[in-house]
Protein backbone atom coordinates (compact mmCIF):
# COMPACT_ATOMS: atom_id res chain seq x y z
CA UNK A 1 0.00 0.00 0.00
CA UNK A 2 1.36 3.39 -0.92
CA UNK A 3 -0.76 6.31 0.24
CA UNK A 4 1.47 8.70 -1.61
CA UNK A 5 0.46 7.48 -5.04
CA UNK A 6 -1.46 10.19 -6.83
CA UNK A 7 -0.94 12.62 -3.96
CA UNK A 8 2.64 13.59 -4.67
CA UNK A 9 2.30 17.06 -3.24
CA UNK A 10 0.58 15.98 -0.07
CA UNK A 11 3.11 13.24 0.33
CA UNK A 12 5.93 15.73 -0.01
CA UNK A 13 4.55 17.54 3.01
CA UNK A 14 3.70 14.55 5.16
CA UNK A 15 7.07 13.02 4.54
CA UNK A 16 8.80 15.92 6.24
CA UNK A 17 8.78 14.38 9.65
CA UNK A 18 10.82 13.04 12.49
CA UNK A 19 12.88 10.07 11.35
CA UNK A 20 12.82 6.69 13.06
CA UNK A 21 16.17 6.06 14.68
CA UNK A 22 18.54 3.11 14.38
CA UNK A 23 20.69 2.72 17.47
CA UNK A 24 23.57 0.29 17.82
CA UNK A 25 24.08 -0.61 21.46
CA UNK A 26 27.56 -1.22 22.75
CA UNK A 27 27.69 -3.21 25.95
CA UNK A 28 30.88 -2.25 27.75
CA UNK A 29 32.91 -4.29 30.17
CA UNK A 30 36.40 -3.27 31.24
CA UNK A 31 36.39 -0.67 28.48
CA UNK A 32 35.63 -3.25 25.76
CA UNK A 33 32.47 -3.99 23.79
CA UNK A 34 30.69 -7.20 24.62
CA UNK A 35 27.36 -8.72 23.75
CA UNK A 36 26.00 -11.92 25.12
CA UNK A 37 23.13 -14.17 24.21
CA UNK A 38 20.44 -13.67 26.86
CA UNK A 39 23.02 -11.65 28.79
CA UNK A 40 25.36 -14.57 29.49
CA UNK A 41 28.35 -16.04 27.58
CA UNK A 42 29.85 -12.69 26.70
CA UNK A 43 31.80 -12.35 23.46
CA UNK A 44 34.32 -9.64 22.64
CA UNK A 45 33.37 -7.44 19.69
CA UNK A 46 35.94 -4.70 19.76
CA UNK A 47 37.04 -1.30 20.90
CA UNK A 48 34.10 1.01 21.75
CA UNK A 49 35.58 4.24 20.41
CA UNK A 50 36.56 2.59 17.14
CA UNK A 51 33.13 0.98 16.81
CA UNK A 52 31.45 4.31 17.60
CA UNK A 53 33.32 5.97 14.74
CA UNK A 54 32.42 3.18 12.35
CA UNK A 55 28.73 3.25 13.27
CA UNK A 56 28.60 7.02 13.02
CA UNK A 57 30.13 6.86 9.53
CA UNK A 58 27.72 4.10 8.49
CA UNK A 59 24.69 6.20 9.37
CA UNK A 60 23.71 5.20 12.90
CA UNK A 61 21.42 7.88 14.33
CA UNK A 62 22.55 7.52 17.87
CA UNK A 63 24.60 5.21 20.05
CA UNK A 64 23.98 3.66 23.43
CA UNK A 65 26.80 2.53 25.70
CA UNK A 66 25.75 0.26 28.53
CA UNK A 67 28.43 -0.42 31.09
CA UNK A 68 27.28 -3.83 32.25
CA UNK A 69 30.13 -4.12 34.69
CA UNK A 70 29.40 -0.80 36.34
CA UNK A 71 27.88 -2.10 39.52
CA UNK A 72 30.99 -4.09 40.33
CA UNK A 73 33.73 -1.86 39.01
CA UNK A 74 35.15 1.61 39.19
CA UNK A 75 33.70 4.28 36.88
CA UNK A 76 36.84 6.10 35.86
CA UNK A 77 37.37 4.05 32.70
CA UNK A 78 33.80 4.78 31.64
CA UNK A 79 34.25 8.53 32.01
CA UNK A 80 37.45 8.35 29.99
CA UNK A 81 35.66 6.36 27.32
CA UNK A 82 32.79 8.90 27.18
CA UNK A 83 35.29 11.68 26.66
CA UNK A 84 37.08 9.84 23.88
CA UNK A 85 33.79 9.05 22.13
CA UNK A 86 32.57 12.67 22.36
CA UNK A 87 35.88 13.82 20.94
CA UNK A 88 35.58 11.60 17.88
CA UNK A 89 31.92 11.36 16.89
CA UNK A 90 29.32 13.93 15.87
CA UNK A 91 26.09 12.08 16.64
CA UNK A 92 24.34 11.85 20.03
CA UNK A 93 25.01 9.07 22.49
CA UNK A 94 23.55 7.74 25.71
CA UNK A 95 25.49 6.20 28.57
CA UNK A 96 24.02 3.77 31.07
CA UNK A 97 24.97 1.16 33.63
CA UNK A 98 25.25 1.59 37.37
CA UNK A 99 24.27 5.26 37.39
CA UNK A 100 22.68 5.99 40.74
CA UNK A 101 23.07 9.65 41.61
CA UNK A 102 22.83 13.21 40.32
CA UNK A 103 26.63 13.42 40.67
CA UNK A 104 27.14 10.34 38.46
CA UNK A 105 25.03 11.97 35.77
CA UNK A 106 26.72 15.32 36.05
CA UNK A 107 30.19 13.90 35.42
CA UNK A 108 29.01 11.91 32.38
CA UNK A 109 27.17 14.88 30.84
CA UNK A 110 30.11 17.19 31.53
CA UNK A 111 32.39 14.82 29.67
CA UNK A 112 30.26 14.81 26.55
CA UNK A 113 27.42 12.30 26.99
CA UNK A 114 24.12 13.59 25.62
CA UNK A 115 21.82 11.39 27.65
CA UNK A 116 22.09 8.95 30.50
CA UNK A 117 20.13 5.80 30.97
CA UNK A 118 19.09 4.66 34.44
CA UNK A 119 17.55 1.31 35.28
CA UNK A 120 17.89 -0.36 38.71
CA UNK A 121 18.54 2.93 40.47
CA UNK A 122 15.24 4.31 39.17
CA UNK A 123 13.37 1.30 40.55
CA UNK A 124 15.11 1.57 43.91
CA UNK A 125 14.76 5.35 44.08
CA UNK A 126 12.12 6.68 41.67
CA UNK A 127 12.68 10.23 42.95
CA UNK A 128 16.01 10.14 41.08
CA UNK A 129 14.05 10.51 37.81
CA UNK A 130 12.44 13.72 39.07
CA UNK A 131 15.75 15.05 40.37
CA UNK A 132 17.58 14.40 37.10
CA UNK A 133 14.78 15.87 34.97
CA UNK A 134 14.71 18.97 37.11
CA UNK A 135 18.45 19.51 37.15
CA UNK A 136 19.41 18.50 33.61
CA UNK A 137 16.11 18.46 31.71
CA UNK A 138 13.95 15.51 30.64
CA UNK A 139 15.72 15.36 27.29
CA UNK A 140 18.76 13.67 28.79
CA UNK A 141 16.97 11.21 31.07
CA UNK A 142 16.38 7.79 29.54
CA UNK A 143 14.81 5.17 31.76
CA UNK A 144 15.75 1.65 30.71
CA UNK A 145 13.25 -1.05 31.58
CA UNK A 146 14.06 -4.76 31.30
CA UNK A 147 10.97 -6.92 31.48
CA UNK A 148 9.86 -10.46 30.82
CA UNK A 149 6.55 -12.26 30.92
CA UNK A 150 5.69 -14.32 33.95
CA UNK A 151 2.27 -15.99 33.86
CA UNK A 152 1.19 -13.62 31.08
CA UNK A 153 2.27 -10.50 32.99
CA UNK A 154 5.14 -8.26 31.88
CA UNK A 155 7.29 -8.03 35.00
CA UNK A 156 10.17 -5.56 35.38
CA UNK A 157 13.52 -7.21 36.16
CA UNK A 158 16.79 -5.88 37.54
CA UNK A 159 20.49 -6.77 37.30
CA UNK A 160 20.44 -7.65 33.63
CA UNK A 161 17.18 -9.54 33.95
CA UNK A 162 18.19 -11.76 36.84
CA UNK A 163 16.08 -10.28 39.63
CA UNK A 164 12.30 -9.90 39.29
CA UNK A 165 10.55 -6.93 40.92
CA UNK A 166 6.95 -6.37 41.95
CA UNK A 167 6.54 -3.87 39.13
CA UNK A 168 4.41 -4.30 36.05
CA UNK A 169 6.03 -2.95 32.87
CA UNK A 170 3.12 -0.76 31.85
CA UNK A 171 2.47 0.76 35.30
CA UNK A 172 6.15 1.47 35.71
CA UNK A 173 6.44 3.06 32.26
CA UNK A 174 3.54 5.40 33.02
CA UNK A 175 5.13 6.33 36.33
CA UNK A 176 8.58 7.08 34.92
CA UNK A 177 7.01 9.25 32.19
CA UNK A 178 5.06 11.17 34.82
CA UNK A 179 8.22 11.65 36.86
CA UNK A 180 9.93 13.36 33.95
CA UNK A 181 11.78 10.73 31.92
CA UNK A 182 12.41 11.93 28.37
CA UNK A 183 12.53 8.49 26.80
CA UNK A 184 12.03 4.82 27.58
CA UNK A 185 14.38 2.06 26.49
CA UNK A 186 12.33 -1.11 26.73
CA UNK A 187 14.20 -4.41 26.51
CA UNK A 188 12.17 -7.56 26.34
CA UNK A 189 14.20 -10.22 28.15
CA UNK A 190 12.04 -12.84 26.43
CA UNK A 191 13.21 -11.62 23.03
CA UNK A 192 16.74 -10.49 23.82
CA UNK A 193 19.32 -12.69 22.13
CA UNK A 194 16.73 -14.81 20.34
CA UNK A 195 16.92 -12.96 16.99
CA UNK A 196 13.22 -13.68 16.56
CA UNK A 197 12.04 -10.07 16.46
CA UNK A 198 11.07 -7.36 18.93
CA UNK A 199 8.23 -7.57 21.46
CA UNK A 200 5.91 -5.59 19.21
CA UNK A 201 2.69 -6.17 21.07
CA UNK A 202 4.08 -4.84 24.34
CA UNK A 203 5.75 -1.97 22.48
CA UNK A 204 2.52 -0.94 20.79
CA UNK A 205 0.69 -1.05 24.10
CA UNK A 206 3.38 1.15 25.69
CA UNK A 207 2.90 3.65 22.88
CA UNK A 208 -0.77 4.03 23.70
CA UNK A 209 -0.01 4.64 27.38
CA UNK A 210 2.83 7.14 27.33
CA UNK A 211 3.64 10.20 25.24
CA UNK A 212 7.44 10.10 25.30
CA UNK A 213 9.66 8.35 22.74
CA UNK A 214 10.15 4.61 23.08
CA UNK A 215 13.24 2.68 22.02
CA UNK A 216 12.59 -0.96 21.14
CA UNK A 217 15.28 -3.38 22.29
CA UNK A 218 15.81 -7.12 22.32
CA UNK A 219 15.27 -9.60 19.54
CA UNK A 220 16.61 -8.03 16.33
CA UNK A 221 17.66 -10.75 13.90
CA UNK A 222 16.86 -9.47 10.43
CA UNK A 223 15.76 -6.35 8.60
CA UNK A 224 12.08 -7.25 8.67
CA UNK A 225 12.21 -7.22 12.48
CA UNK A 226 13.09 -3.53 12.36
CA UNK A 227 10.29 -2.82 9.91
CA UNK A 228 7.87 -4.60 12.26
CA UNK A 229 9.10 -2.75 15.35
CA UNK A 230 8.18 0.55 13.70
CA UNK A 231 4.99 -0.53 11.92
CA UNK A 232 3.52 -2.93 14.48
CA UNK A 233 5.41 -1.90 17.60
CA UNK A 234 5.05 1.84 16.88
CA UNK A 235 8.54 2.35 18.25
CA UNK A 236 10.36 5.64 17.76
CA UNK A 237 13.75 3.98 17.63
CA UNK A 238 15.09 0.45 17.46
CA UNK A 239 18.21 -0.72 19.22
CA UNK A 240 20.35 -3.74 18.52
CA UNK A 241 23.84 -4.99 19.23
CA UNK A 242 25.11 -8.26 17.85
CA UNK A 243 23.48 -8.02 14.41
CA UNK A 244 25.49 -4.84 13.94
CA UNK A 245 28.66 -5.88 15.75
CA UNK A 246 28.97 -9.08 13.77
CA UNK A 247 27.96 -7.35 10.53
CA UNK A 248 24.89 -9.48 9.97
CA UNK A 249 22.95 -6.31 9.16
CA UNK A 250 24.52 -3.25 7.58
CA UNK A 251 22.99 0.00 8.78
CA UNK A 252 22.82 1.66 5.38
CA UNK A 253 21.10 -1.33 3.78
CA UNK A 254 18.73 -1.50 6.73
CA UNK A 255 17.75 2.14 6.34
CA UNK A 256 17.25 1.79 2.60
CA UNK A 257 14.90 -1.11 3.23
CA UNK A 258 13.03 0.88 5.88
CA UNK A 259 12.55 3.72 3.44
CA UNK A 260 11.22 1.27 0.84
CA UNK A 261 8.64 0.36 3.46
CA UNK A 262 7.57 4.01 3.78
CA UNK A 263 9.32 4.44 7.10
CA UNK A 264 11.05 7.81 7.39
CA UNK A 265 14.76 7.48 8.07
CA UNK A 266 17.81 9.70 7.81
CA UNK A 267 19.76 8.54 4.77
Amino acid sequence: MNLCEGFANLCEITKRMLAKRIIPCLDIKNGRTVKGVNFVDLRDAGDPVELAEIYSAEGADELVFLDISATEERRKTLVNMVRSVAEKINIPFTVGGGISSVEDVEILLNNGADKVSINSSAVKNPQLINDLAQKFGSQCVVVAIDAKQIDGQWIVHLVGGKVPTELNLFDWAVEVAERGAGEILFTSMDNDGTKNGFANEALAKLSTLINIPIIASGGAGNIQHFVDSFKEGKADAALAASVFHFKEIEIKALKQELRKNDIEVRL
Partner: protein, 193 residues
Protein backbone atom coordinates in the same frame (compact mmCIF):
# COMPACT_ATOMS: atom_id res chain seq x y z
CA UNK B 1 40.24 33.89 15.89
CA UNK B 2 38.96 33.97 19.43
CA UNK B 3 35.86 31.84 20.04
CA UNK B 4 34.16 32.07 23.40
CA UNK B 5 31.49 29.66 24.61
CA UNK B 6 29.41 31.35 27.26
CA UNK B 7 29.73 29.31 30.41
CA UNK B 8 26.78 29.73 32.72
CA UNK B 9 26.50 26.20 34.01
CA UNK B 10 24.04 24.99 31.40
CA UNK B 11 24.34 21.70 29.67
CA UNK B 12 26.66 19.72 27.50
CA UNK B 13 29.32 22.21 26.54
CA UNK B 14 32.05 19.63 26.02
CA UNK B 15 30.43 18.40 22.79
CA UNK B 16 30.52 21.90 21.31
CA UNK B 17 34.17 22.28 22.34
CA UNK B 18 35.05 19.01 20.63
CA UNK B 19 33.08 19.92 17.47
CA UNK B 20 34.95 23.21 17.21
CA UNK B 21 38.24 21.34 17.64
CA UNK B 22 37.25 18.94 14.84
CA UNK B 23 36.77 22.02 12.64
CA UNK B 24 40.32 23.05 13.41
CA UNK B 25 39.63 25.84 15.90
CA UNK B 26 39.93 26.28 19.63
CA UNK B 27 37.25 27.69 21.90
CA UNK B 28 37.44 28.92 25.46
CA UNK B 29 34.75 28.74 28.09
CA UNK B 30 34.02 31.97 29.87
CA UNK B 31 31.48 33.92 31.87
CA UNK B 32 33.76 36.94 32.11
CA UNK B 33 32.03 39.95 30.42
CA UNK B 34 35.30 41.45 29.13
CA UNK B 35 36.46 38.19 27.64
CA UNK B 36 33.08 37.60 25.97
CA UNK B 37 33.02 41.14 24.54
CA UNK B 38 36.53 40.75 23.16
CA UNK B 39 35.72 37.51 21.31
CA UNK B 40 35.41 37.28 17.52
CA UNK B 41 32.63 34.73 17.79
CA UNK B 42 30.36 33.95 20.71
CA UNK B 43 28.50 30.69 21.18
CA UNK B 44 25.58 30.65 23.58
CA UNK B 45 24.78 27.03 24.43
CA UNK B 46 22.00 25.70 26.56
CA UNK B 47 20.55 22.42 27.60
CA UNK B 48 18.13 22.04 30.45
CA UNK B 49 15.31 24.07 31.91
CA UNK B 50 14.63 27.68 30.83
CA UNK B 51 13.84 29.45 34.11
CA UNK B 52 16.84 27.84 35.84
CA UNK B 53 19.12 28.83 32.94
CA UNK B 54 17.78 32.40 32.91
CA UNK B 55 18.38 32.71 36.64
CA UNK B 56 21.99 31.67 36.06
CA UNK B 57 22.37 34.28 33.30
CA UNK B 58 20.96 37.03 35.49
CA UNK B 59 23.17 36.08 38.41
CA UNK B 60 26.26 36.83 36.32
CA UNK B 61 24.84 39.87 34.49
CA UNK B 62 24.97 38.04 31.16
CA UNK B 63 21.30 38.82 30.47
CA UNK B 64 22.17 42.45 29.73
CA UNK B 65 25.53 41.71 28.10
CA UNK B 66 24.41 39.22 25.42
CA UNK B 67 21.77 41.37 23.63
CA UNK B 68 24.36 44.16 23.26
CA UNK B 69 27.09 42.07 21.65
CA UNK B 70 28.19 43.24 18.19
CA UNK B 71 30.12 40.20 16.92
CA UNK B 72 28.37 37.10 15.50
CA UNK B 73 26.54 35.26 18.29
CA UNK B 74 25.19 31.71 17.91
CA UNK B 75 22.56 30.36 20.30
CA UNK B 76 22.03 26.62 20.30
CA UNK B 77 18.88 24.79 21.47
CA UNK B 78 17.83 26.37 24.78
CA UNK B 79 20.31 29.15 24.00
CA UNK B 80 18.23 30.04 20.95
CA UNK B 81 15.00 29.86 22.94
CA UNK B 82 16.38 32.19 25.62
CA UNK B 83 17.21 34.73 22.89
CA UNK B 84 13.46 35.03 22.15
CA UNK B 85 10.97 37.34 23.91
CA UNK B 86 9.78 34.75 26.36
CA UNK B 87 9.17 31.04 26.76
CA UNK B 88 6.28 29.08 28.23
CA UNK B 89 8.81 26.87 30.00
CA UNK B 90 8.72 28.06 33.60
CA UNK B 91 7.02 31.27 32.32
CA UNK B 92 10.41 32.75 31.61
CA UNK B 93 11.24 36.19 30.19
CA UNK B 94 13.91 35.84 27.50
CA UNK B 95 16.59 38.18 26.20
CA UNK B 96 14.23 39.72 23.62
CA UNK B 97 16.61 39.46 20.66
CA UNK B 98 14.25 37.47 18.44
CA UNK B 99 10.71 38.83 18.29
CA UNK B 100 8.87 35.58 18.95
CA UNK B 101 7.42 33.72 21.93
CA UNK B 102 8.47 30.10 22.56
CA UNK B 103 5.58 27.70 23.23
CA UNK B 104 5.12 24.00 24.01
CA UNK B 105 4.26 21.22 21.56
CA UNK B 106 0.76 19.86 22.13
CA UNK B 107 0.17 16.31 23.33
CA UNK B 108 -0.86 15.25 19.83
CA UNK B 109 2.80 14.39 19.24
CA UNK B 110 5.41 12.76 21.43
CA UNK B 111 7.10 15.31 23.64
CA UNK B 112 10.02 15.89 23.66
CA UNK B 113 10.63 15.70 19.95
CA UNK B 114 13.76 13.58 20.03
CA UNK B 115 15.78 12.66 16.99
CA UNK B 116 16.51 13.67 13.44
CA UNK B 117 14.18 15.90 11.47
CA UNK B 118 14.52 17.89 8.27
CA UNK B 119 15.30 21.59 7.91
CA UNK B 120 14.07 23.50 4.85
CA UNK B 121 13.35 27.02 3.51
CA UNK B 122 16.96 27.74 4.41
CA UNK B 123 18.17 31.34 4.40
CA UNK B 124 21.44 33.20 5.09
CA UNK B 125 25.07 32.11 4.84
CA UNK B 126 24.66 29.96 7.93
CA UNK B 127 23.35 27.33 5.51
CA UNK B 128 25.84 27.98 2.72
CA UNK B 129 26.47 24.70 0.90
CA UNK B 130 23.73 22.93 2.87
CA UNK B 131 20.94 21.28 0.87
CA UNK B 132 17.28 21.69 1.66
CA UNK B 133 15.79 18.89 3.80
CA UNK B 134 18.98 17.76 5.46
CA UNK B 135 18.36 15.97 8.74
CA UNK B 136 19.44 17.66 11.97
CA UNK B 137 19.40 16.33 15.53
CA UNK B 138 16.80 17.95 17.77
CA UNK B 139 15.72 17.38 21.36
CA UNK B 140 13.11 19.77 22.65
CA UNK B 141 9.63 20.18 24.10
CA UNK B 142 9.20 23.88 23.33
CA UNK B 143 9.52 25.64 19.97
CA UNK B 144 9.60 29.05 18.31
CA UNK B 145 6.69 29.41 15.86
CA UNK B 146 7.38 30.46 12.27
CA UNK B 147 8.10 34.18 12.17
CA UNK B 148 9.82 36.90 10.12
CA UNK B 149 13.20 36.02 11.61
CA UNK B 150 13.00 32.31 10.72
CA UNK B 151 15.90 31.14 8.54
CA UNK B 152 15.01 27.44 8.65
CA UNK B 153 11.76 25.58 9.15
CA UNK B 154 11.02 22.12 10.52
CA UNK B 155 7.74 20.22 10.70
CA UNK B 156 6.67 18.46 13.90
CA UNK B 157 2.93 18.74 14.44
CA UNK B 158 3.32 22.26 13.04
CA UNK B 159 5.87 24.01 10.86
CA UNK B 160 8.06 25.96 13.23
CA UNK B 161 11.28 28.00 13.15
CA UNK B 162 14.21 25.65 13.62
CA UNK B 163 16.67 28.51 13.09
CA UNK B 164 16.42 32.27 13.62
CA UNK B 165 18.52 35.26 12.64
CA UNK B 166 18.49 38.95 13.41
CA UNK B 167 21.47 41.20 12.64
CA UNK B 168 24.53 39.53 14.18
CA UNK B 169 22.47 37.01 16.14
CA UNK B 170 21.88 33.44 14.97
CA UNK B 171 20.11 30.62 16.71
CA UNK B 172 19.34 27.01 15.91
CA UNK B 173 16.92 24.73 17.68
CA UNK B 174 18.91 21.75 16.44
CA UNK B 175 22.33 20.77 17.72
CA UNK B 176 24.86 21.37 14.91
CA UNK B 177 27.53 19.74 17.07
CA UNK B 178 25.49 16.51 17.14
CA UNK B 179 24.10 16.54 13.61
CA UNK B 180 26.77 14.64 11.73
CA UNK B 181 28.95 16.19 9.05
CA UNK B 182 26.24 18.58 7.82
CA UNK B 183 25.79 19.92 11.34
CA UNK B 184 29.51 20.50 11.56
CA UNK B 185 29.37 22.37 8.27
CA UNK B 186 26.73 24.74 9.69
CA UNK B 187 28.87 25.34 12.77
CA UNK B 188 31.82 25.94 10.44
CA UNK B 189 29.77 28.44 8.40
CA UNK B 190 29.08 30.39 11.56
CA UNK B 191 32.75 30.42 12.52
CA UNK B 192 33.61 31.82 9.06
CA UNK B 193 31.26 34.80 9.43
Amino acid sequence: MKIVIINYGAGNIQSIMFAIERLGFKAVLSNNPEEIQAADKVIFPGVGEASYAMKKLKASGLDTLIPNLKQPVFGICLGMQLMCNKTEEGNTEGLGIFDVDVIKFSNKVKVPQMGWNQIYDLKTDLFKGVSEKEFMYLVHSFYAPKCAEAIAVTNYEVEYASALQKDNFYGTQFHPEKSGDVGEKILGNFLKM
